[in-house]
Amino acid sequence: MKILAFAEQRGGKFKKVAFEVVHAAKKLAEEFGGESVALVIGKDIHDIAPQVGGYGIHKAIVAEDNRLEFYSTTAYSKIVAEVARSLSADVVIISASAMGKDLAPRVAAKLNAGMASDCIDIRRDGESLVATRPVYAGKALIDLVIKSPIGVFTLRPNVFSPGIPDATIASVDKLAVNLTNSDFSSKVTSVSVTKAGRPDLTEAEIIVSGGRGLGGPDNFKMIESCADVLGAAVGASRAVVDAGWRPHEDQVGQTGKTVSPSLYVAVAISGAIQHLAGMSSSKYIVAINKDKDAPIFQVADYGIVGDAFEIVPELTEQMKKVLGKE
């Protein structure tokens, strides 16, 4: 089995998801007694490419071109598909990041390949490769197999371990990039940061979320203070977003982000089924709510039934002590 791992970089730096994908590809190749190769696409990236060696893939292919500085769905997918073909890859693995979710379906369509999106597990079962992925925003899980000669898999960020890197340096093969202007019929021209200083919900190790019980947008300051002490992302329930208290990109749940942090703190969120679907795969859940019957307590590891306005500031202070941030 030959596996191609797309190692995502932005701005000349690997994303954490790149190493998650590389390590998962390496492990799968071992299970099947196959080979894995990493692909890095961008501008000025040949210096970083050898890093994939530390995460288990010892050969990196680099597609480098000034025009590839920013993502282009058309150009990137062309390169991934061409490399997959030239390697006779059986499996292409890509992160289910914003870039990967856009890239993978194009690659699958180019290769006429079956695709499994947002997988939380990929494993050998006999001679088959079985992927597990959530559907209905996590209300159910499916196991699926791909029947086409080549399969495309995207991996949910924050779920697969990148492993512990060692000092191995990967060898680098430079690909002759052969792109014309028509390959950039869709291209990113600039990237802007909307939330400087706070991690993104889908990448965060810790999320502090607020719900309608907070009463109004100003009371999110308390949530933000707590989040900042923890280096956490700030989330919100759908009710809060629909009321215009928080931007839509903060929404956690079935019509928002599905998240899997190590710790999810739900403040004044009752736990509607569509919210629970989006966050119940978090490793640890804390619920703070004054309604003891709120459904959120059914999924919480630790709960405090009480007034958020009293408890959250105290939590922030206590966290500062533990984390030495006083």
């Binding site: 769905t73 058309t74 914003a98 979710k101 856009d102 379906p105 194009r106 699958a108 369509a109 180019k110 390949a113 079956g114 695709m115 499994a116 999106s117 947002d118 559907v135 209905y136 209300k139 159910a140 899980l141 499916i142 196991d143 197999v145 791909i146 029947k147 869709s186 291209k187 990113v188 021209t189 600039s190 990237v191 802007s192 810790i206 839509h248 990109e249 079935q254 019509t255 928002g256 190590s262 710790l263 509607a272 089924i273 795969s281 640890y284 804390v286 003891k292 307590f297 059914q298 919480a300 590891d301 630790y302 709960g303 405090i304 007034d307 408890i311 105290e314 206590q318 002590k321 533990v322």
Partner: protein
């Protein structure tokens, strides 16, 4: 402009999913089906273009007769006609995309809109696959869209981790809509009445073979309710201790 919006029918967000007898799909009894929420933003995006620039808007859906309900729902918001690509096959993103691409190939579509994903299988793939099959540029998860009809150019913003990318693309193209792109209009009573007489063309999907096979569906392992540590701030030190020492997440 010739605009198409692909719409899907999905169980509503309040649905409690039960696994059906076959162990591979959900039990569809007692399920309330709705227009996929993300598709509403796609519908609105097309209708806003039609409000400004003379356009024909067609709503397209792949599935059985019940999919006409979501086409009618979209038609009640506005637009001109519907297209039902009839298919009873168990498909996946690639087969649905093939059916749509085949149906729209020679229509002279300027923009084909989708929701960024359907909230049933959550693959977020069909729109991009259709773009690839038709050789069109695309932008996905779009939260801002500026069309220059004269230059036949779109500048849009798509959501990425912690920020946005500005994407430029030329028509014809595919756009997938994210929540935040607009505020979808509510169908007016007049719109609902008018939708009843708007035509829905029915075409048969060609034979398709899915490359993915679901071998099992199950509920995720149920979480055990945890410990209630108290009812006021005196419980906080214990919570912090547990997070630090037991869960080891801080």
């Amino acid at each position: 402009m010739k605009l198409f919006v692909c719409v899907n029918q999905v169980p509503d967000t309040e649905t409690r999913v039960k696994v059906a007898q076959d162990g591979k799909t959900i039990d569809r009894s007692e399920i309330n089906l709705i227009l996929n929420p993300y598709d509403e933003f796609a519908v609105e995006a097309a209708l806003q273009i039609k409000d400004k620039t003379a356009s024909e808007v067609t709503f397209v859906s792949v599935g059985g007769d019940s999919n006409k309900e979501v086409i009618r729902k979209a038609l009640a918001m506005g637009g001109d006609k519907g297209m039902l690509i009839k298919s009873d096959a168990v498909g996946d993103s690639l087969t649905v995309a093939s059916s749509i691409a085949a149906a729209l190939k020679d229509t002279g579509a300027d923009i084909i809109f989708f929701g960024k994903q359907s909230i049933d299988y959550d693959s977020a793939a069909t729109g991009t696959m259709v773009a690839e099959m038709l050789g069109l540029p695309s932008a996905t998860v779009v939260v801002k869209l500026d069309l220059d009809p004269g230059a036949r150019k779109i500048t849009c913003e798509r959501e990425i981790e912690g920020g946005r990318e500005t994407v430029e693309l030329t028509l014809p193209c595919v756009i997938t809509a994210q929540k935040g792109l607009n505020d979808p209009r509510y169908p007016s009573l007049k719109g609902i009445m008018a939708a009843k007489s708007k035509p829905i063309q029915e075409i048969a999907a060609g034979p398709v073979e899915a490359f993915t096979e679901v071998v099992a569906m199950r509920k995720p392992p149920a979480k055990q309710p945890g410990r209630i540590l108290g009812s006021d701030k005196s419980a906080v030190p214990e919570l912090v201790r547990l997070l630090h020492e037991e869960a080891k997440v801080i």
